[in-house]
């Protein structure tokens, strides 16, 4: 907690993130490159053929989509309970990326599904849950944009994020229940052969690093924008 607050000061945050960012970016590129290479050189799955490669693009996207919402919820908690100054900016910055990764997961899920199911969308439990997650992101971003007073918007969005994070497990449970009621079995089953494991882990790490890199950049941009605005208004930087 102390650590978090030491970097609550925008100044310190800019210094730390500035130092760390190049390494994040490099690590991202390395992981993604290695993961993609291994992923595409993997032997084709006997059932799914070469489209198994989409697994390496789809699953990590889903993982980041959920992790990003978790990050937003954590920042919201920090903001509401401990009044950590940067957490509002951080939460707002994470949302578009969370939404993008969710959308990516949905699109790749549909592309992956076409050869398997014959059609792009079959209301599979997992994909349906992620569709709802996408709406949660959109609602969160819409609320930020709608309220003019930034402090009020931040706190309202924080409340919404916390309400959302509590509901997400319930939503997933209910969608799973709905799926078994209507279809009997979940369609995408989850056994991963070991030869797929390494590329998958590399891609997941790569995606997380990609998210972290983009997130840090966006937070830095937001801080710099605020400084620029303050300078233009004639106040302190």
């Amino acid at each position: 907690m102390q650590f978090l607050f030491r970097y609550a000061n925008p100044h310190n945050f800019m210094r730390l993130s500035g130092a760390v960012l190049p390494f994040f970016a490099l690590a991202t590129v390395l992981c993604l490159a290695a993961g993609l290479y291994l992923g595409f050189s993997v032997p084709p799955d006997y059932q799914q053929g070469t489209t198994i490669a989409l697994l390496f693009i789809h699953v990590p996207a889903d993982v980041v989509a959920e992790a990003a919402y978790g990050a937003i919820a954590l920042c919201s908690l920090l903001s509401l309970v401990w009044r950590h100054p940067l957490s509002d900016t951080a939460a707002r910055a994470a949302a578009p990326f969370g939404a993008l990764f969710t959308a990516l997961g949905l699109i790749t899920g549909a592309l992956w599904g076409k050869p398997m199911w014959g059609t792009y969308w079959v209301w599979d439990a997992r994909l349906t849950s992620f569709l709802l997650l996408l709406f949660l992101y959109l609602g969160y971003m819409a609320l930020w944009n709608a309220i003019e007073d930034e402090t009020r918007a931040a706190r309202a969005a924080a409340i919404l994020a916390l309400v959302g994070v509590v509901n997400i497990p319930i939503i997933k449970f209910s969608v799973d229940w709905w799926s078994t009621l209507h279809q009997g079995e979940s369609i995408i089953s989850g056994k991963i052969a070991p030869v797929y494991l390494w590329p998958l882990l590399l891609m997941m790490t790569g995606y997380m690093l990609l998210f972290a890199t983009l997130w840090l950049i966006r937070i830095r941009t937001a801080i710099m924008e605020r400084r620029a605005r303050n300078l233009m208004q004639g106040g302190p930087a």
Binding site: D149, T151, Q233, G235
Partner: protein
Amino acid sequence: MITFLTAEKLACARGERRLFDGLNFRVKAGQALAVEGANGAGKTSLLRLIAGFLAPLSGRLIVKIADKEDDDAEERGKLVGWLGHQDGLKPQLTVAEQLDFFASLYRSKAGAAVLEQVGLARQADLPCRYLSAGQRRRLALARLLVSRRPLWLLDEPFAALDVNGQGLVAHLMAHHCGEGGIIIAATHEPLGLSNESLKL
């Protein structure tokens, strides 16, 4: 019965703009404080701060009752009788319904006597949409009386009232202070009481 209300180094901001800083004052039982200043200077914000709606940027507001001191905003709100800019009246409800609602809400009783006092006895069954601006303010005053709160926060108490109405307000305020209550009023005009003044 509040003994003192003290403000220590109060600072308040609205959005990015700092309204006031290092504000100090003390009002004791039976006293009135007139808050003066240009529009937008922060008079309403100060009232909302005292009521507990707004949190100060820094500083404290302390309420002393007998021997106990408390600076909690929510507790302070329970002592406040509020007369704001807006009327808080629903057009579809009648005068009597409106007053009974607020009376019950504040765990108090509204007799016909209160309506008499503010000169709305004949309008008891009139839906509020048919009241004039002055009559609406009188109803708000009745509501204030019925709430039976020691700390009155009044935002432009004389607004929209004719000479009789203004006389009524002055009379009610004098009575309230006479009973040991405290009044803090944002106003452009003199209160007509011996009161302290605070310029924002």
